[in-house]
């Protein structure tokens, strides 16, 4: 790993916008990934008559961004008065649905034909069942003037009657290539210095979440001035996967002493048990040269330990137990006969 902890750039910019905001796409063309779906949204943006939409998918894959882009492109200058946005932090109980949304829906806004007011409900799966019930009829009654765009992580948290009223778009996770492309663009624009390992580390830590990837990029950049794998893991405060990987390979060889050494190294760096377990899981599941059975059993053990840790038993002993079990798997059973 490159130890180039290069020149820390003087912070000559007093205030910097978070890059996630700065580089948030404003037109649908710029939204990364899910080409097919975005393509269709573009058609809607051009022709108008947007149906009710639910966009579901993991965090940080551009759900809210696409809805905003869509709304901007549909309404243009009228965006300000033609859009009502509510997210989970706004109060969104039944009263709000009944009053705020209805008042908005009844508001007169002059829009070109084929354009409608838009209600954006971000994180719609966190709405209570009651509020969703109340929304149900509202959507129908005002559909001639107002369209609803919902974003949620799990579309099955939305009650069926609402699902039935919406076109449901499912966003897939962004691929590493898509993430990388965007990251490179930003690096270019912000003149970020990086090496390939650094970008790989960003991809590893963000797990397909664009927002997190960009945030990590920015933090690493402003913290260290150079995006290398080491710096990224320092910023993200995650155990270095290289260490975890060598820990695992020692486990697979049955070298418990070596594995414990690595574990102690991580522990002394101050990582919590959860951090370590989660990283082990990530490394295991992306591990290329592990037989299927080993992978399966390892995930099982890691999962079990994860649970125990979450239950509050996040001790070194707990982790040592995990390591021991992982080692035992590949050791000859005869060794354990008493």
């Amino acid at each position: 790993m490159s130890s180039s902890k290069a020149k820390t750039k003087p912070t000559d910019v007093p205030y910097e916008l978070p890059w996630v905001e700065k580089y948030r796409p404003v037109v649908l063309d710029d939204v990364v990934g899910n080409t097919d779906t975005i393509e269709r949204l573009k058609v809607i943006a051009r022709d108008g008559n947007c149906p009710h939409i639910i966009i579901s998918g993991m965090p940080g894959i551009g759900k809210t961004t696409s809805i905003h882009c869509l709304a901007h492109q549909l309404l243009g200058d009228a965006y300000k008065e033609g859009v009502l946005e509510l997210n989970a932090s706004d109060e969104r109980g039944i009263d709000v649905v009944r009053n705020k949304i209805k008042t908005f829906a009844q508001k007169k806004v002059t829009l070109p034909p084929g354009r409608h007011k838009i209600v954006i409900l971000d994180e719609a799966d966190s709405m209570t069942a009651g509020a969703q019930q109340a929304l149900r009829r509202t959507m129908e009654i005002f559909s001639n003037t107002t369209r609803f765009c919902l974003a949620c992580n799990m579309s099955n948290k939305i009650i069926e009657p609402i699902q039935s009223r919406c076109a449901i778009l499912r966003y897939a996770k962004l691929t590493d290539a898509e993430l990388l492309k965007r990251l490179l663009e930003i690096c270019e624009l912000e003149k970020v210095q990086y090496n390939d390992d650094g970008l790989t580390a960003l991809l590893f830590t963000s797990e397909g979440d664009m927002r997190q990837a960009i945030n990590n990029l920015q933090s690493t950049h402003s913290g260290f001035g150079f995006v290398s794998a080491d710096n990224v893991f320092k910023v993200c405060d995650q155990p270095h996967p290289v260490i975890v990987e060598s820990l695992l390979s020692r486990c697979m060889k049955g070298d418990i002493d070596g594995a414990m050494e690595k574990l102690n190294e991580l522990w002394e760096q101050g990582y919590s048990a959860v951090d370590i377990v989660v990283t082990i899981f990530r490394v295991v599941k992306t591990h290329n040269s592990m037989p299927e059975y080993t992978k399966l059993e390892y995930i099982k053990e890691v999962g079990f330990t994860h649970m125990r840790v979450l239950e509050g038993v996040g001790t070194l002993l707990q982790l040592a137990g995990l390591i021991a079990r992982l080692c035992k798997l590949n050791m000859k059973p005869e060794l354990f006969r008493v």
Partner: protein, 708 residues
């Protein structure tokens, strides 16, 4: 249709000269634009419509004897979302010429519209064209008070103006004061769809109270206005919670949480009311694919014949195969089907040049599949079947290609194999677990998965046996399923991030390699049906227990009044009723057979000596005991398919496809047929009826999975 007529007006505005007509038809949602206006356009099964119509007729005129009117007070329409419940009422209102008064929880005043009167906090009746200068004092009322007032006034056919204030508490005066005033439009119904927030306990209690007060026979007024409630099944599907709740059900015999999150008929109406004589429940089934397709094509024809945009082409760009895809994925939900259709047409309509490439059918279908894939909803999407196919066919490096595979697929597989590294060998003692490299990338599966892992495990559980050859294979899969389910308790179950990997890897690892092809199909999990059935069975158990207590107390009372001296003994022995001894569990476990036998005996007695029947009727347990005492044992219809899997088209095995749970439909059908009919007929008719309404769900064939 207030909404509709306004909608049309909007469109007219836009087609004024000088305006671009391009938008004229694209403004508005098709579900609004093409709402059916006649019964012929409805995609609902004829039988259901006639059921509803008959009820309404009886409610208006009292049926042949004229006496039924008293009992036709509340009609509850239930069923999944998008099965034309409300639309049926609207269509019938046009046909039978009655007026719909709809309650809407609203904050602001909306002007009354032509056909449906808007009755929110201001009351406006459609016959009065002028908006009523309404005193806003009532704003201080809680919204429930408004609802209550609305209900009280509306049900009594009062002219609103006679009693704007505080009649909700004094029904008698209001009813006597206004009987003369309903002149213009005698027939009207109340539509309750947007109910008050009955998930809130207090509101629910008052709601129940309001409904009960309405039905209270002591305040019966002639000519009550029938109420139609439309209640969509609105469970959020695939939730692990359901399962947990059921577990809780065992302990107390009382459901703690299930009524809270889920709104269904039982939440809206108390059981006594629901089973009482005043309430009729009609369940709408998902729209049958044939009907759905017919309706969609009719809609398309209408759409493309009215919207002659510049091109002059009036033929719809949507092919029949494409319609099939939409129909398949809609799963009987017509609204969602139309939404998808409209959404899809924005694309197809624009890329009209694609139509030219008719010759190349293959790529066209591909494109359509992609299209549908990205617009379809819920777990019915093709993605899910790809997912299941990938996991369950367990393809590994070097597997011979399937016989039906296309050349390009074979090539793709070979290329994939080249990239796959052989995994290192396991140590000697684990030799049996060595596997060839899998062609399945679990990480990719995970990120593409349209369902959460608990639903995923249900799917695997439903289907894995078909793909196993040996008992040991089954054992392996079920082992992993139960590990994922049981390790770590409830909280962990819901958040376990490792679950998906465990499930898919575990399944892949345990299945035979290669999986023997025998035309397997992927079935939908029956879990939810079973859950519903269990819920209903519990309902039956509770009914029976209530009955035992009631009858027991009555018997004791009569015994003690008859022979005073025996009182003590009677109480001690409970006269064999043993009221307190019957827990819910006991009833479920032990009493079913007895109840069934008793009933059988009664029926036999009744046919031999009719006079006995009446004598015994007092001891008759509530009919709902069938829900747990007479559960059908359904034999697996085919190898592999689970019992009664909700599947298959009619040709498959002669069984009619079924929707919903047996139990649920039975109760409702019972009510439709009257509570006390002969039990033999019951099951027969029930099945037959369901068959008639049945909706074959065309599940994807193996080939569909393979094509990918």
């Amino acid at each position: 249709m207030g909404r509709k007529s306004q909608m049309l007006q909007v469109i007219d505005d836009h087609t004024l000269p000088g305006m671009s007509t391009e938008y004229s038809t694209s403004d508005g949602l098709w579900i609004d634009l093409y709402e059916p206006e006649t019964e012929a356009e409805l995609a609902v099964h004829v039988r259901k419509v006639s059921d509803v119509r008959q009820w309404l007729q009886e409610a208006f005129s009292g049926g042949p004897s004229g006496k039924l009117r008293r009992y036709r007070r509340i009609l509850v329409l239930t069923g999944p979302a998008g099965t034309a419940k409300t639309t049926t009422i609207r269509v019938l209102s046009r046909e039978m010429n009655f007026e719909i008064m709809e309650w809407r929880n609203a904050s602001d005043d909306v002007p009354a519209r032509s056909h449906v009167s808007r009755l929110n906090d201001s009351y406006a009746i459609s016959s009065s064209s002028d908006p009523w200068p309404y005193d806003r004092d009532e704003d201080s009322e809680s919204s429930f008070m408004k609802f209550q007032a609305f209900l009280a006034r509306a049900t009594r056919c009062n002219n609103i103006f006679s009693s704007v204030l505080d009649d909700s508490n004094d029904r008698r005066t209001s009813s006597s004061s206004t009987s003369s005033l309903n002149s213009t439009n005698p027939k009207r119904i109340i539509l309750l769809e947007d109910l008050p927030n009955i998930l809130h306990l207090q509101t629910r209690t008052s709601f129940h109270g309001a409904i009960e007060a309405l039905l209270d026979s002591s305040t019966y007024v002639p000519d009550p206005v029938p109420i139609v409630m439309v209640i969509s099944d609105s469970g959020t599907r695939g939730e692990a919670e359901d399962e947990r709740i059921m577990n809780g059900g065992w302990s107390g015999g009382r459901f703690g949480k299930d009524r809270d999150g889920v709104m269904d008929v039982r939440t809206v109406l108390r059981k006594e009311i629901l089973n009482g004589p005043f309430v009729t429940q009609i369940r709408f089934n998902p729209i049958a694919p044939t009907l759905l397709k017919k309706a969609l094509s009719a809609l398309l024809t209408r759409h493309f014949s009215t919207s002659t945009s510049g091109s002059g082409s009036t033929r719809s760009p949507v092919s029949s195969t494409y319609l099939d895809l939409i129909v398949d994925s809609a799963n009987g939900d017509i609204r969602s089907a139309i939404m998808s259709l409209q959404f899809a047409c924005t694309r197809l309509g624009v890329n009209s040049k694609k139509k030219g490439r008719k010759g190349n059918n293959d790529s066209k279908t591909d494109e359509q599949q992609v299209l549908v894939e990205s617009i379809t909803r819920r777990e019915q999407s093709l993605v899910l079947f790809h997912l299941m196919g990938k996991v369950l066919y367990n393809k590994r490096k070097g597997d011979p290609p399937a016989s039906s595979a296309l050349a390009r697929d074979i090539k793709r597989e070979q290329e994939l194999d080249k990239r796959l590294k052989d995994p290192p060998k396991l140590p000697e003692h684990l030799k049996e677990h060595d596997r060839k490299a899998s062609r399945v990338d679990v990480d990719v599966l995970y990120s593409d998965s349209p369902i959460d892992s608990s639903l995923f495990s249900l799917y695997i559980h439903q289907n894995y046996t078909q793909f196993c050859d040996e008992m040991s294979h089954c054992e392996g899969v079920s082992e992993w399923l139960s590990w994922a389910d049981s390790s770590g308790g409830e909280a962990w179950y819901q958040t376990n991030p490792h679950q998906f990997h465990l499930l898919s890897l575990g399944t892949l690892h345990s299945l035979p390699e290669p999986v023997t092809r025998r035309g397997q199909r992927v079935y939908k999990p029956e879990f939810f049906d079973a859950l519903e059935k269990e819920k209903n069975a519990w309902e039956g158990v509770r009914d029976t227990r209530e009955w035992i207590v009631k009858e027991g107390v009555r018997t004791i009372q009569s015994a003690t009044t008859d022979v005073d001296g025996m009182r003590e003994n009677a109480v001690i022995q409970d006269l064999g009723w043993n009221i307190s001894g019957w827990t819910h569990r006991n009833i479920a476990m032990e009493l079913g057979g007895v109840l069934k036998a008793r009933e059988k005996a009664r029926i036999m007695n009744a046919s031999n000596t009719p006079s006995n029947a009446t004598a015994l009727s007092g001891f008759l347990a509530p009919r709902t005991h069938h829900l747990f005492s007479a559960m059908e044992f359904i034999y697996p219809s085919r190898s592999g398919a689970g019992p009664g899997a909700s599947t298959l088209d009619e040709t498959e095995d002669g069984r009619e496809p079924q929707w919903g749970s047996d139990g649920a439909v039975t109760v409702e059908e019972q009510q439709e047929m009257g509570m006390w009919q002969d039990s033999q007929g019951l099951w027969g008719v029930d099945l037959e009826k369901k068959g008639a309404d049945g909706n074959g769900k065309g599940w994807l064939e193996e080939d569909d999975i393979e094509d990918w």
